[in-house]
Symmetry: C2
Subunit: 370 residues, 2 copies
């Protein structure tokens, strides 16, 4: 298959696979698509190890890295130099009432405390101070694509990537965002509909893609609700030149998804997700359960702005993950989890997607010939 | 174009146009698609007049009628015989606090009282008692399709339609709903994504259509977010055999849409809609404004179940429509209102959709040949 995107990146198939798991990234790139490693959860040192592993297992095929540099977050204007400095200042901004709400919620579900807790110390890579070191690590590897998950990346980061011959993509949930991204030099816009897992906007993929395609001249990838080849064909029919997928990789054989989460995904319907601020402070589609419900309940203190909310809840989510309180264990998940009912190798998912894509396009062609 | 749906109904194009305006219905049917008149707002006598007009203006082409027989509503089990009886009983169920909330909201926006008010008396066609007379009127006309907007129609209504050679369609927002509809004899399932205007579920069109196509053997129409030929091609790529459209007809030349609403739609973006219970008590996508916001605010009494909510607000919405309080005037609208920027004849919308469909499918075919 050829589109401007496959030409730009030297890939065979315009199928992008976002995953936090290096095995999935390498498998999809080896199958002819492009794996994109989500760097968010890794320290610069960990990221270095992951990318080294991918370099050794990708057979020279192109792959990408996804960082999170939100255009706005609490502390963005504090003028701090280090992540440690920023963490200290932000910690003081979390109200005691919020800490008590989380403690009480976990106690009510019998979730045990953990020793060596990092409560309130986790910032993750979604500030400029924490994402920049990730970018520096990524650009020391032979990556083909640097993607930014929350709006336009800083212009100097785009320049840095371009200077290394690396293309830049950014996620957009409105046509206005897409135009801003192209203004700072983004090469590929990932137009992501509300049905997507993780941080997401309000407009559906069906409505959003044509608007973004009409608003910008650079190639557009369709994201949100893309899990099979019919959905891939639909995304391309809407004007996209490739598809960006995420949730679908949570249940492939190679994925390091925790067993409790994998089981929950295989059982879930498409109505079992919800757009919620309870993970990071910005709206993200998550598995709907007693955790997301609790933040909507009458006694909820409301969520905090990014990155305070994740600092508040990161330790709680870790404790929940190690407990039996499955009813509280949430994670980013798109509406397509309703159709994810089996565990297959990543390569099979890619090849089935292409077969279904071809079937769908042939069927469409026949409809107008009869 | 040929699909099972065009064969079943004897139409040239599998494009269905839902509209409350008879002129739009006749224009789309004359253009080769199928206009479907929404009967909701009409008394049986008014509906008789509208259908007589359509019979005289449709050049013998097939058209349809859409009624609303919800599977569940307050009063469904009261065993009343007439709409008048039902209205009287339901009126007593509307709390005074809710009436005061609506009165205060209108007063705050300077909306005048109207003489001859029908406050609280309007039930509309969304109970069995009110929709059945509409069905009887519809079946006296040469309609080709009877559609039900809120779930599976009663089995005896399906039989009645089939006995007259009329096909039956029903809207579904989950695969489970679709299976239930086929069980009562529905011939066509309209799978409607959350981006659609009016009563709508949570699952997006991109995710929903393949699930419904896989769940039932009857043909499926794609609904929600379908406004141009790229979206039509996407819907068909997902497995649908036709498209069901609604919002797109609000701004065609033939539409009797009030000027204030038409102007608002032409200006709106796709983020200017919201799923709200403030119109009928069931979630429906509406134009987002101070009306929908007020029902979400901290001092809102909450919405009432169908059909009480519309009985509560119908007079208010009529008063707002006749006032200058544009900030309160809401109506059902899908996310595609963001791309509706011009007024064209209905025929042009149909023909452009087909041209774009053919372009999109040809483009898709080329991608795999290069």
């Amino acid at each position: 298959m050829r589109t401007r995107v496959t030409d730009m990146l030297g890939i065979e198939l315009p199928i992008f696979a976002f995953s936090h798991c290096r095995d999935v990234v390498a498998a999809v790139s080896r199958a002819g698509g492009m794996g994109v490693l989500g760097a968010l959860y890794f320290t610069p040192e960990e990221l270095e190890m992951e990318l080294k592993w991918i370099d050794d297992h990708v057979d020279g095929r192109p792959y990408g890295v996804d960082v999170v540099m939100p255009a706005s977050y609490e502390g963005a204007d504090m003028g701090v130099d280090s992540a440690e400095d920023l963490v200290g200042r932000l910690q003081g901004m979390i109200p005691d009432g919020h800490r008590k709400f989380v403690d009480d919620l976990l106690a009510a579900h019998g979730v045990a405390e953990l020793s060596g807790s990092d409560a309130g110390k986790v910032l993750l890579g979604w500030t400029d101070a924490t994402a920049r070191p990730q970018v520096e690590v990524a650009l020391r590897h032979p990556i083909a694509l640097l993607a930014n998950a929350l709006g336009p990346p800083p212009a100097d980061v785009v320049e840095l990537a371009h200077a290394r011959g690396v293309k830049v993509a950014a996620l957009a949930s409105t046509p206005r965002h897409a135009v801003k991204q192209v203004e700072v030099g983004v090469d590929i816009v990932v137009a992501q509909g509300t049905e997507a897992g993780g941080h997401t906007g309000e407009i559906s993929t069906m409505v959003l893609i044509p608007q973004v395609v009409d608003a910008v001249d650079v190639p557009v990838l369709a994201a949100g609700g893309i899990g099979d080849g019919r959905q891939m064909a639909a995304g391309m029919a809407l004007g996209a030149e490739g598809v960006w997928t995420g949730s679908i990789w949570l249940t492939v054989e190679e994925a390091d998804t925790p067993e409790m989460a994998r089981r929950r995904i295989l059982e879930a319907t498409s109505r079992d997700t919800v757009r919620s601020r309870s993970w990071t402070g910005k709206p993200a589609r998550l598995l709907k359960n007693e955790w997301t419900d609790a933040w909507e309940a009458a006694d909820s203190p409301g969520t905090l702005p990014m990155p305070l909310q994740f600092m508040l809840v990161s330790d709680a989510l870790r404790r929940i993950g190690r407990s039996d309180a499955a009813e509280l264990a949430t994670f980013p998940a798109g509406q397509i989890i309703g159709t994810m009912n089996q565990v297959r190798p990543a390569k099979d998912v890619v090849f089935t997607m292409v077969e279904q894509y071809i079937e769908a396009t042939e069927r469409l062609g026949r409809l107008t010939q009869e």
